[in-house]
């Protein structure tokens, strides 16, 4: 049986790329020897489902290695170039290094290397996928052609079966008796969480709305997180809760009980949290970064990137105060998720892979 193994850089239960790869693995496993390998050791939340890269068997030139590109490590590039398998690339976008050049030069170099890697492995790549038009356009600038735009393995309704945590809901109600705005993302500089903090300060001080903000996501950059904490201390009206790492049940509870989901990112290759928010009935207000507009479409309020935090706060305030608009956005959100799911992207992916074995 030929092998179609996948390689991701890191893995965790809450990581979007890990979940996408696992969905694809399940679909591929009927016909091929298919596993997901993580370059860094899988964390405890996913251990057993994702295997560690050193355990990946060496394939043949007939086999396929599906590489999920999202970061850059020279050691990984070296492996990709030396291994005999044909490479299929799934491009999830690599954050431009400019966001980290000052604050984290090593991280910035790795991001820059990721883009260099795209050029280096190009000749070994036999098929290319991108999970959004935005990513396809980005990938094409590195000389890739015939790129399939398939958000393969994305499941916005993955939390459907996860029950709401009544205990956590009680805590939230106690902390925010009049509700809260939700920001879901890894706490990284290009996600611009500070705009969400400034926004809630304006909501409370200018719009006089007694609401808070929940910043839900793992703390990836402690220095940036500390900077956000400082900002919170200096803005007397920023009523904020940083949850750091949370469980799936807590995340589902947050989506289901927030007043509005807000996205402030500066760069997004696909933007899954707004889709999950819509699937859980939250109205969505986002900034038009990268692929956000094509992902959210008409189902949310998309604030232009050049607008100030005042407009962002104005949009969130409008959704909170205007029941009719909120209701329409929730309905549009459900419709958008159904539209997103109407194409069986996983089967499409598998069919394209099959062509490589004909």
């Amino acid at each position: 049986m030929p092998s179609v193994h996948q390689l991701i850089i890191g893995s965790s239960r809450r990581d979007a790329i890990t979940n996408m790869a696992l969905t694809l693995r399940d679909a591929l496993a009927d016909k091929y020897d298919a596993e997901v390998y993580s370059y860094f050791a899988p964390d405890h939340t996913i251990n057993g489902e994702v295997l560690h890269f050193p355990d990946m068997p060496l394939g043949t030139p007939e086999d396929i290695l599906v590489y999920h590109s999202s970061f850059g490590l020279e050691a990984v590039t070296k492996e990709l170039l030396q291994r005999p398998e044909r490479i299929v690339i799934v491009y999830h976008n690599i954050t431009p290094s400019k966001y980290y050049e000052d604050s984290d030069p090593v991280f910035a170099e790795q991001l820059a290397w990721g883009r260099r890697e795209l050029e280096l492995i190009r000749d070994k790549v036999v098929m290319s996928f991108a999970d959004s038009e935005y990513n396809a356009k980005d990938l094409s600038t590195y000389g890739y052609t015939d790129i399939s735009v398939v958000p393969a393995g994305v499941n916005p309704r993955r939390l459907d079966e996860v029950p709401t945590s009544t205990y956590f809901l009680g805590e939230l109600t106690q902390h925010f008796p009049n509700g809260f705005v939700l920001f879901v993302s890894q706490v990284l500089q290009h996600k611009r969480a500070e705009l969400a903090l400034e926004m809630v300060h304006l909501l409370r001080s200018v719009w006089r709305l007694d609401v808070g903000l929940v910043v839900a996501g793992p703390n990836r950059k402690p220095v940036y997180r500390r900077d956000l904490e400082k900002l919170r201390q200096r803005l007397p009206e920023s009523h904020v809760l940083f949850t750091d790492e949370i469980t799936e049940q807590q995340l589902a509870t947050l989506y289901r009980s927030c007043l509005v989901y807000v996205g402030t990112s500066e760069h997004e290759g696909l933007a899954i949290p707004p889709l999950e928010a819509m699937a859980n009935g939250a109205p969505v207000v986002v900034r038009a970064a990268g692929a956000v507009a094509e992902t959210v479409k008409q189902a949310g309020i998309i604030v232009p990137l050049e607008s100030g935090v005042g407009e962002l706060a104005g949009a969130v305030a409008r959704v909170i105060e205007d029941n009719s608009l909120r209701h329409e956005l929730v309905k549009s959100g459900y419709a958008r998720v159904s539209e997103f799911e109407s194409v069986d992207t996983t089967s499409h992916f598998v069919k394209r892979i099959e062509k490589l074995f004909v």
Binding site: D102, S103, D160, E161, P163, T164, T166, L169, T173, N178, G179, E194, E198, H201, L202, V206, V223, Y224, R226, D227, K230, L231, R234, L235, R256, S257, L259, N280, G281, A282, Q298, G300, I301, I302, V303, G308, V309, G310, E311, G314, A315, R318, L325, E328, L329, V330, K331, S332, Y334, A335
Partner: protein
């Protein structure tokens, strides 16, 4: 105000089915909503409830915080505290007694005897050094406290100054509006004559 959507434990599917029966969705004119939001923000600014420069002030605030990170000064006070802890740790190792072992046969005994003979003096010296190091530790701790207080005071001062400047700018903006209105009234009066 709080409404839990989708219920809990499996009610989500039923809820979604009921939504699908709603029929065709009324399309929200997002462009129209955005235009209204812009108007609302502009109105708030004109009313003065949204002071001019507030957004810039917020942005500048965060940039100030970030500039410390960019210069690599992530936390100077913490760095001084780390040094103090290091000096304190090393201090415990100043005993005034040197190792007596030797590779030359019989020399270890001689070293031990010499060490014992002069221990009264070396241990006294070590105690003096430890006391001096302890003062250094205290000094570093005072520096750390000062550094923290200083950083906070500096930031508060800049924040207050910016606020005052922006308040003045707001007053000037308001005066400009009043002058324009006054000019219009004068023009009207002149025309009516």
């Amino acid at each position: 105000m709080r409404l839990l959507r989708n219920g809990s434990n499996g009610t989500l599917v039923r809820h979604r089915k009921s939504l699908s029966k709603v029929g065709s969705l009324k399309q929200v004119d997002i462009e129209q909503v955005l235009a209204e939001i812009r108007d609302d923000v502009a109105k708030k600014r004109a009313e003065g409830s949204f002071p001019p420069g507030l957004e810039q002030e917020l942005e500048a605030e965060f940039q100030t915080i970030l500039s410390y990170t960019k210069r690599g000064i992530t936390d100077r006070a913490a760095e001084i505290e780390r040094l103090a802890a290091e000096v304190r740790h090393n201090n415990h190792e100043i005993t005034g007694l040197t190792p007596a072992h030797s590779r030359i046969p019989g020399m270890s005994i001689i070293h031990r005897i010499v060490r014992r003979v002069i221990a009264r003096h070396t241990m006294g010296l070590a105690a003096q050094i430890r006391a001096s190091e302890e003062s250094k530790v205290r000094l570093l701790e005072i520096f750390a406290e000062q550094s923290r207080a200083h950083e906070d005071a500096d930031q508060r001062l800049v924040q207050n100054l910016s606020k005052h400047v922006l308040d003045r700018v707001a007053v000037i903006d308001h005066l400009t509006i009043l002058v324009t209105a006054l000019e219009a009234k004068i023009r009207k009066l002149e025309e009516s004559k």
